[in-house]
C-alpha cells in the first residue's frame, strides 16, 4: 500500500469529509476529522522520508502515464509543504473541539468539520499534484470550503469578509485558468514536468509571458501579496478561531507553494527571473508589504486583525526570499513557509483561547488577562518572541536566512532590504508588546458574570504543542533548514 | 442550405434580442428569454445537421426543457416572490 501513499494523502480526507457531513453528532464528526488529520500527517511524514531516501516520487493516477493522465509528483518541496499543512491540521483539529462547540451551532458542527476536512483535502491536493489543471480543481475545493468556513464567524462582518474573499479568490482562480489555458495552447500539455521541458524548448514567447503574468497575479491574489491582500485582514479577523488558525497557517502557504512551483518548476528559474525580471516586481512589493503592513498592524486594536496584517507582512518576507532568486533566499522563503505556519498557527490558537473565555480579542478586553489565563498569555508571549525573531525561536531562523540572502547580493537596494527586515522585526516588537503590556501590566476590567478562567486543556495542549514546536525548530533547525535548503537547490535546478 | 436556416434563426434571435434590451417591462424580457430559448433549440438542431452530428439533438431537447423550467421559476418568482411557497395562483398574495 505504501506505493499508493501519494494518492491516499488526498483521498483519505476526501473520503472522510462526506462521512463527517452525514453524522449527526458534532463529537463523532470531530473524531473522524481527528483520525483523518492524524492519518494525513502520518502519511506526509512517510512521504517525506521516502522522498529523502529515494528522490522524487511519481504516481500516475488511473494508470495513465504522465502527459496523458494526471500525475502526482512529490519532491522535497511539496513533501515539506505537505508536512506543514498536515501538521497544522493535526494540531488544529484537537484544538477545534471546544472552540467550535462554542462558536458554531451544534447542528452545524458535523458540516463544519466536513468543510474543514475538505479544505484540508484541497490544500493537500494542490500540493501533491503534478498537473496544472488539477491544481485549479483542488484550489477550488479548498477555496470554496474556506469561504464557507470564514462566513461562519459570529460577527456579521464575517459574511462580507467571506464574500470579498470569494470574489477576489474567484478572480484569482479565473486568472489562473487563463494562464493555464495560454500555456496549454502553446504546448498542448498540462503536466508540469512536461510543460517545463516544452516551455524551455519554446523559447521566449509573448503568449507564455502573458500566461506567466496571469498566473502570477492569480496566485498572488490567493496568497494575499500586497497590494492584493485586501481580503485577508477581514477574513482572518472574523472567521471562527479554529478556522483562522488553520487557514492563516496553511492556505497562504500552499499558495506560495504554487507560486514556487510555477516559477521554478514550470517556467524555470531562468525564464522567471532573467526573462520576466520577476524579482524587479516582487522585491518592491514584498518590501512595501513588509513595511506598510507592519505599520498598519501597530495601529490595530483588534488583536486578530493585528496578526492578520502581520501575516500579510510575513508573506512579504516569504516573497522577499523568493525574489532574491538565490539558493539562500529561496531557502529562507521555504523555511519561512514552515516557520510562519508554526508562529501564526500558535498565535491564532492563543487568540482562540482568549476568544473562548473572554469573548473578544480587542486589546481592551485582554487587560490583566495574564493573571487569569497565565498559560494562554505565556503562549502568546512565546509566540510573539517567535514572530519578532528572537533566538531559539523559528522566527530567528527565518530572519537569519533572509538577511544572509540579502547580504549575499550586491547593490544598495539589498541594504535597504536588510534594514527593512530588521526594522520590521522591531515593529513586530511594538505590536506584540502592546498586547503583552495590556495583558501583564494593566488591571483587568470589571468582570460581569462568571470569572474568566484558564482556557480548557483541550485547547491549551495543542496551542502549546505548536509553541514548543516553535522553540524546538528554533533551537534545532538543522532538519528544517536542510530540507528547505535541498528543496531550494532542487527548485533552482542545482544538484543537491 | 442548413447555413441559411441557421442564419434565419439568427435573424430571429437578433430581433428578440432587441426586444430583450428594450424592455420596457420585466415581462418583455422574460418573454424574450423564453423565445430565445426556443430559438436556441432550433439553432442547435440546425447546427447539428450542419455538422452532420445527430447527437446535437439531445442538446436541443435539454434546452427546451431547461428553458421551460426557467420560465416557470420566473413566474413563481413574480407570483409569490418566493420560490418555495406552495402558492395559490388565483387568489393573489395572502
Amino acid at each position: 500500500m505504501t506505493v499508493h501513499l501519494p494518492v491516499l494523502q488526498v483521498v483519505i480526507p476526501l473520503l472522510a469529509a462526506p462521512l463527517c457531513a452525514l453524522v449527526r453528532h458534532g463529537r463523532i464528526a470531530w473524531g473522524i476529522a481527528l483520525a483523518t488529520s492524524w492519518a494525513s500527517f502520518w502519511i506526509a511524514v512517510q512521504l517525506l522520508r521516502r522522498v529523502q531516501a529515494e528522490g522524487p516520487i511519481s504516481y500516475a493516477l488511473g494508470g495513465w502515464a504522465a502527459p496523458i493522465g494526471i500525475e502526482y509528483r512529490i519532491d522535497l518541496v511539496n513533501a515539506f509543504v505537505l508536512i506543514i499543512v498536515t501538521a497544522i491540521g493535526a494540531v488544529v483539529i484537537p484544538y477545534a473541539l471546544k472552540s467550535v462547540e462554542q462558536e458554531i451551532d451544534a447542528a452545524k458542527i458535523p458540516l463544519f468539520y466536513a468543510a474543514f476536512i475538505l479544505c484540508l483535502t484541497g490544500l493537500l491536493g494542490i500540493t501533491v499534484t503534478g498537473d496544472v489543471f488539477n491544481v485549479f480543481v483542488f484550489l477550488e475545493v479548498s477555496s470554496l470550503s474556506a469561504y464557507a468556513l470564514i462566513g461562519l464567524g459570529q460577527d456579521r462582518r464575517a459574511l462580507t469578509a467571506a464574500y470579498q474573499y470569494l470574489i477576489l479568490g474567484s478572480i484569482g482562480a479565473t486568472f489562473i485558468v487563463i494562464g493555464i489555458g495560454m500555456m496549454y495552447v502553446m504546448t498542448g500539455t498540462l503536466n508540469m514536468m512536461d510543460l517545463s521541458v516544452l516551455l524551455a524548448e519554446l523559447g521566449p514567447n509573448r503568449t507564455i509571458a502573458v500566461a506567466f503574468g496571469f498566473l502570477t497575479v492569480g496566485i498572488s491574489l490567493k496568497l494575499a501579496l500586497f497590494p492584493l491582500h485586501s481580503w485577508l485582514p477581514n477574513a482572518y479577523t472574523y472567521a471562527p478561531s479554529a478556522v483562522t488558525a488553520f487557514i492563516a497557517s496553511t492556505a497562504t502557504k500552499v499558495a506560495v507553494y504554487m507560486l514556487l512551483r510555477f516559477f521554478f518548476t514550470v517556467f524555470g528559474w531562468a525564464f522567471s527571473f532573467d526573462v520576466m525580471q520577476l524579482d524587479l516586481v516582487l522585491l518592491p512589493l514584498a518590501l512595501i508589504a513588509i513595511f506598510s503592513m507592519s505599520l498598519v498592524a501597530i495601529f490595530q486594536t483588534n488583536v486578530k486583525r493585528m496578526l492578520a496584517y502581520s501575516s500579510v507582512a510575513q508573506i512579504g518576507y516569504i516573497i522577499l526570499g523568493i525574489s532574491m532568486a538565490s539558493v539562500t533566499g529561496l531557502t529562507a522563503g521555504i523555511l519561512h513557509l514552515f516557520n510562519h505556519a508554526m508562529i501564526k498557527g500558535a498565535l491564532f490558537m492563543v487568540l482562540g483561547c482568549v476568544m473562548y473565555r473572554v469573548g473578544s480579542v480587542e486589546i481592551e478586553a485582554m487587560r490583566g488577562l495574564a493573571k487569569k489565563m497565565p498559560w494562554t498569555m505565556a503562549a502568546f508571549v512565546a509566540g510573539g518572541f517567535s514572530l519578532i525573531g528572537l533566538p531559539f525561536t523559528v522566527g530567528f531562523i527565518s530572519k537569519w536566512y533572509l538577511i544572509l540572502g540579502a547580504l549575499e547580493r550586491d547593490g544598495w537596494q539589498w541594504w535597504l532590504v536588510v534594514g527593512l527586515v530588521l526594522t520590521t522585526s522591531l515593529m513586530a516588537v511594538v505590536y506584540i508588546w502592546r498586547v503583552v503590556e495590556a495583558a501583564y501590566f494593566q488591571d483587568a476590567p470589571d468582570e460581569v458574570g462568571e470569572p474568566i478562567r484558564e482556557a480548557p486543556l483541550a485547547m491549551l495542549i495543542p496551542t502549546w504543542t505548536l509553541i514548543l514546536a516553535n522553540f524546538y525548530f528554533g533551537i534545532d533547525a538543522t532538519f528544517t533548514s536542510e530540507v528547505a535548503g535541498s528543496a531550494a537547490r532542487a527548485l533552482m535546478g542545482i544538484a543537491p | 442550405m442548413f447555413a441559411v436556416a441557421a442564419v434565419g434563426v439568427g435573424i430571429g434571435m437578433t430581433l428578440v434580442m432587441i426586444r430583450a434590451l428594450l424592455g420596457p417591462t420585466l415581462y418583455d424580457r422574460v418573454l424574450a428569454l423564453n423565445i430565445f430559448g426556443t430559438k436556441t433549440v432550433l439553432l442547435i438542431a440546425v447546427l447539428g445537421f450542419l455538422a452532420g452530428r445527430p447527437e446535437f439533438l439531445d442538446l436541443a431537447l435539454v434546452y427546451a426543457l431547461i428553458n421551460f423550467i426557467g420560465t416557470i421559476a420566473v413566474l413563481k418568482y413574480f407570483e409569490v416572490g418566493d420560490l418555495g411557497k406552495a402558492s395559490e395562483i388565483g387568489g393573489g398574495r395572502s
Binding site: 469561504y147 495560454m182 498542448g188 503568449t207 | 422574460v30 424574450a32
Partner: protein, 199 residues
Amino acid sequence: MLAVTALALLKLRNLFAVAMLAGIYSLLSAGLFTALDAVDVAFTEAAVGAGISTILVLGTLALVGHEQKKSTRSSVIPLLVVLVTGSILVYGTFDMPPYGDPGNPAHHHVAPHYLEESAHEIGIPNVVTSVLASYRGYDTMGETTVIFTAMVGVLLLMGGVRKRATSEMASGPASGPSDQELDGEPHQQPDGEEDPDGG
C-alpha cells in the same frame, strides 16, 4: 450579440433584468460552444447557466429584492484595470496560433493520443467522456468534490439542518414551512426592500 448582452448587463440596474440577460448570455454562449464543436460543454452550460444559475439568482432575488441602487463609486480605476488586463491579454494573443489552425501545437501533443487510442484503450465513442472519466478521471473526482463542497458550504451558511428535519415532519403541506426553520442566527434587522413583485 454576446457583447451587446454583456454591455447591457453592465448598464441595467434592475437585477431581475440582469438575471434574464445573464440567462440569455448563457444560452448564446452555449450556442457558440455548439458551433465550436464542444457539445458536452454546451450541454453543461445549458443545464447550468440557463437553468440552475438562473433559478438560484431568482431565488436570491426573491430573498433580497431586485432593485440596484445607484452607486456613487468612481468607475475610473476599474476601467483602467480592465483596460490594462485586456491589453495584456491581447498582447498575449500575438504569439498564439491562429484560431482553428490544425497546426496548433496544442492539437499535436496529448490530444491526438486521446483521439486515436481511446477507441481501443477505453472503448467508448465519446472521447470527451473517456477523457473526463478515465484519462483525467481524477480531475472529475475533484470536480465532484467541488460541488459537494458547495453543498456543504451552502448548508452551513443557509441552514441548520437537524431542526429543519423535525419541522418538516410537523408542518403540513398547505401551511408552508414554518417560519422558525433554523436559519443559523436570528434575523437582525428589519429591512426596507420593496415588494419583490415586478412592475
